[in-house]
């Protein structure tokens, strides 16, 4: 069981959260030409690294906010959590 620090509510049990996938994916710029390959990459392809990874989590049974979590996918250690408009250092 993970113990996750929500940037708004503080430390809470993993039971209150939903995993939201890779947090490093950036949507292509609006009104720019984009190849099918790049669009396919954005929509379907996700990294699955071993080690430190930035993920999105949703405090679905809490404040209902999305936020970023930097987590080690091997040890499950959580290094940092930030609001969506902040950068993981």
């Amino acid at each position: 069981m993970l113990y996750i620090k929500c940037p708004f509510c503080g430390y809470r049990s993993q039971k209150e959260f939903a995993y939201g996938g890779d947090g490093t994916v950036k949507r292509p710029e609006l009104n720019q030409d984009i190849s099918d390959e790049k669009w396919n990459e954005f929509v379907y392809l996700r990294k699955s690294p071993r080690g430190k990874h930035v993920e999105l989590w949703h405090h679905v049974a809490g404040c209902r906010q999305w936020f970023k979590v930097q987590r080690d996918t091997v040890t499950h250690e959580i290094f940092q959590t930030t609001k969506m408009n902040e950068e993981i250092k």
Binding site: G10, S13, E16, G62, Q65
Partner: protein, 194 residues
Amino acid sequence: MTQISPLNFVHKVGKFGDHEGKNKNDLLKVSEVNGLLIFQIAQYKNSSFDISKIKLDGLSLPSSLNSTSNLNTRILWFGPNCWLVFSSDLDLIEKEKNQFSETVFAITDISHSRTIIELEGSLVNEVLKKGCPLDISSLKAGDCANSVYNGVTITIDFISENPKKVRILGLRSFGESLHHSITDACLEFGYKAI
């Protein structure tokens, strides 16, 4: 229109569980709270309106994980820029709507969609601990928290310390499951449903 309370078919008055031989004042009390006006206030993200100017029934909007209250009304922090208001004054929205510009706030009446179960007694924390992952002992009167109880999303409003009293709010559609979960957890201690 007739309003049927969310727990109309499951909440039965009486004493249940291990209540025999116990002082009736020591028993947990479980009751349903209904007939309140419940509405959500959400402030739009792009708004820079200073919420300290808002006084709702004389109460300010609380900061994170806190509540403000008077005899008629309780306001809970529900998330960033979002609050939940409970009031026995059923005309409160009408009376106070001038404070809430439509370009800054969204006010939604959700009176019909919530179940409220009130627990009172010295063993309230023990009942909560059985299904909720929060650090219950660290929470005190005036706090509120969103969490889960046996998988059901709830909001806990800590009303008073002496007597220990909390309100557990859930979605109306989960009301019966939530009531079963909570009353099952109370059986070990014995409880009086009122």
